[in-house]
Amino acid sequence: MATIDCMEGNTMTEMTRKRILVVDDEQDAREFVKAVLEEEYEILTASDGDEGLKIAEENLPNLIILDVQMPKLGGFDVFSQMKKDKALCEIPVIMLTGIREKVGVDFSKEEMGDFFGKEPSAYLEKPINSCDLLATVHKCLGGGGCCCCGGS
């Protein structure tokens, strides 16, 4: 279910609008990220890892936002497959996690898979803070600061 949202009345031209792929199994989470970013970026969404990889290959987005905990192909699996793919390995990735070291629970080696030794561009913890999300995306894509916080 790839969705390409084209914003109307956008000040930026299609040429300068960067493309972001959001991969999350939860619709509410996808909607959230999309709502935060859609004014500046073109948003693609995928509801699982396989679909995410497929859309990434087809559309070569500028940034991928990946949820870690997804059924079947999890976020780390998608990440490590991307790193093996010449077309995708350079695309920056922001990982969305429900839980991480902060609560004393680390991902197991099994969960991490081939992921060890490589790092995504950034981690963002759920619940997502819209300003953090925007700022992180800007940082990854070299854009401006967060509009609502008055710059990064």
Binding site: M1, D24, D25, E26, D28, A29, E31, F32, V33, A35, V36, D67, Q69, M70, P71, K72, G74, G98, I99, V103, G104, V105, E125, K126, P127, I128, N129, S130
Partner: protein, 551 residues
């Protein structure tokens, strides 16, 4: 309290404790006077040390006072460092004969509580040089069942079977120790008994379980004093110790005569752990008819060897249990934290979209934001309900309900959700199913969980979920089955089904739904069957008794 017997005056007056090189000591209770000390075997206390004269000194009773008299020894007799010819002894004095040093431990004069010691000549020696101990001691390795003659082989085997059973079952230290003591009392004519364990931190021995036989009366345990010497001997040297009645034991002859309190006999064996001695079993008896034999000692020694390991295992088990509990709590907290964060994420998202809609006066966004918010608040409610249902054991609140109606309610509720995902939800009731006695709300929750899972498992297109009821009149049971043609459960995951916080649903799953379902069904004395093939589908079948099961 002095009794006359054969010209000798006897009573328990205390003891001399011989301090030996290496920190060990041997005690000689003082009961009969005079007590002769010297190198010759004819002495009451034989000291095989060349600094001691053949007939070195003697202890006599002067009224209530114990006196020591030097018998013209070559190297002298010393009390508290002063050479003496004759001197009264007090408790705490230090007595030295040549190179042999004794601590003097004297009881205060007995003012008489009507308890006249009847025992006049129980003799016992722990390990003086002059007496062979081989007969009394069983070396750590030397236990052989064939050597047991006192008790019949059958009884001994039965005994070990029983100890084996206690050891298998006992995960609780108290239960283990008391069980072993009870069994010991069945086999050994003990009056009093206790098990001592060394404190793992300080090494201090403390009584962890004790028992008194009916014959012994109530005063047994209150006054239970265990000879430190016997205990040390058993635990430091790891040897079994038996003290017995010397009147019937020729080996003692006219050698050291001592009485240990009023006790006719006592035994003490070490409890061996894997690496060290961790405690001891001690038994004694006041009754003449309850004399201990070498076989009793062997038996007790074998018990000691067995339970030493068991005690260590129990302690390890406890430590493991604590660690596991901590791990389980950690896992639960992490699992819950994760679920709650995902729900919060939904709420944050919902309110962000709602805010945006309000700011821009877009009804679409307002509606979408509101939907997300309310959906996540009901997820939170479900999570809390599942948590509560999972956390405490409860009896089902039985009521009479129409079996099919519980299922219909679920199907109707989830119809929309199924439609939204393009899943065809079918319901095939067994019309013969009428009133059943179940906890309606709880079973509703189970069916809701199963049907929700089934819909989630389905692909976006061509998904099918079928819910059926079936009455088995013969067995007085009814079944609710939920089938889907979805992704199926892998063999690996099948084992983890129902484990709390295990979910294959990613952010959507709490990992509690099935755990709660399993719990509720088992509280109903029902069962759950699962059949699944990867990528072909899964069928969950709940089987429940039609009537409330009798207790």
């Amino acid at each position: 309290m002095i009794a006359e017997e054969g010209g000798k005056r006897s009573a328990l007056h205390g003891k001399l404790v011989l301090e030996r090189p290496g920190g060990t000591s041997v005690s000689f209770p003082l009961t009969q006077f005079p007590v002769a000390l010297g190198r010759e075997a004819s002495n009451d206390i034989t000291l095989s040390d060349h600094s001691v004269s053949r007939r070195h000194a003697r202890l006599v009773l002067d009224g209530e006072m114990v006196q020591v008299e030097d018998l013209g020894s070559s190297n002298g007799t010393f009390v508290n460092g002063n050479k003496i010819a004759s001197c009264g002894l007090k408790n705490g004095d230090h007595l030295r004969l040549g190179n042999c040093s004794f601590a003097v431990e004297l009881d205060p004069p007995n003012t008489g509580k009507g308890r006249e010691p009847k025992t006049t000549s129980s003799t016992w020696d722990l390990s003086t040089h002059s007496l062979s101990q081989e007969d009394l001691e069983v070396e750590a390795t030397g236990i052989r069942a064939a050597g047991l003659t006192g008790a019949s082989t059958g009884a001994v085997l039965g005994f070990f079977q029983q100890t084996g059973r206690i050891l298998e079952r006992a995960f609780d230290l108290d239960e283990l120790l008391n069980g072993i003591l009870d069994l010991t009392f069945q086999m050994i004519p003990a009056g009093r008994g206790c098990i001592l364990l060394a404190d793992p931190n300080t090494g201090e021995m403390g009584i962890k379980a004790s028992k008194t036989s009916d014959d012994e009366g109530q005063d047994g345990l209150d006054r239970m004093k265990i000879s430190r010497t016997i205990l040390d001997y058993a635990t430091r040297q790891g040897r079994a110790v038996l003290t017995s009645d010397a009147t019937s034991d020729d080996r003692f002859g006219a050698a050291q005569s001592v009485i240990i309190q009023e006790i006719r006999g006592a035994m003490c064996v070490p409890l061996r752990g894997r690496e060290e001695i961790i405690g001891a079993i001690y038994v004694d008896s006041k009754l003449l008819s309850h004399k201990f034999s070498i076989d009793d000692l062997k038996l007790l020694f074998a018990v000691g060897a067995q339970i030493g390991i068991a005690v260590e295992n129990t302690r390890l088990y406890d430590a493991n249990l604590r660690a596991e509990r901590m791990a389980a709590v950690g896992q639960a907290v992490a699992g819950l934290g994760h679920c709650i964060k995902n729900i919060l994420n939904g709420m944050e998202g919902g309110s962000f979209i709602l805010q945006k809609g309000i700011d821009k006066a877009e009804e679409g966004s307002i509606r979408k934001g509101w939907d997300i918010l309310s959906r996540n608040s009901s997820r939170l409610k479900d999570l809390v309900l599942d948590m509560l249902a999972y956390s405490k054991p409860r009896e089902p609140m039985y009521q009479v309900v129409q079996g099919n109606s519980v299922v219909v309610d679920v199907v109707e509720l989830l119809q929309e959700r199924a439609d939204g995902k393009g899943v065809h939800l079918r319901y095939i009731p067994d019309e013969r199913l009428q009133a059943v006695e179940i906890d309606g709300k709880a079973i509703y929750r189970c069916v809701l969980n199963l049907v929700t899972n089934a819909i989630d498992a389905c692909q976006e297109q061509g998904g099918e979920v079928c819910v059926r009821t079936l009455l088995s009149q013969q067995e007085q049971r009814f079944e609710i089955s939920v089938s889907d043609n979805g992704c199926g459960v892998s063999e690996e995951d099948m084992e983890k089904l129902g484990r709390a916080f295990f979910s294959t649903k990613g952010s959507k799953g709490t990992g509690l739904g099935l755990s709660v379902t399993y719990k509720i069904v088992s509280e109903h004395k029902g069962d759950i069957r699962v059949e699944s093939r990867l990528r072909e589908g899964t069928t969950f079948t709940l089987s429940l008794p039609v009537r409330r099961p009798m207790e």
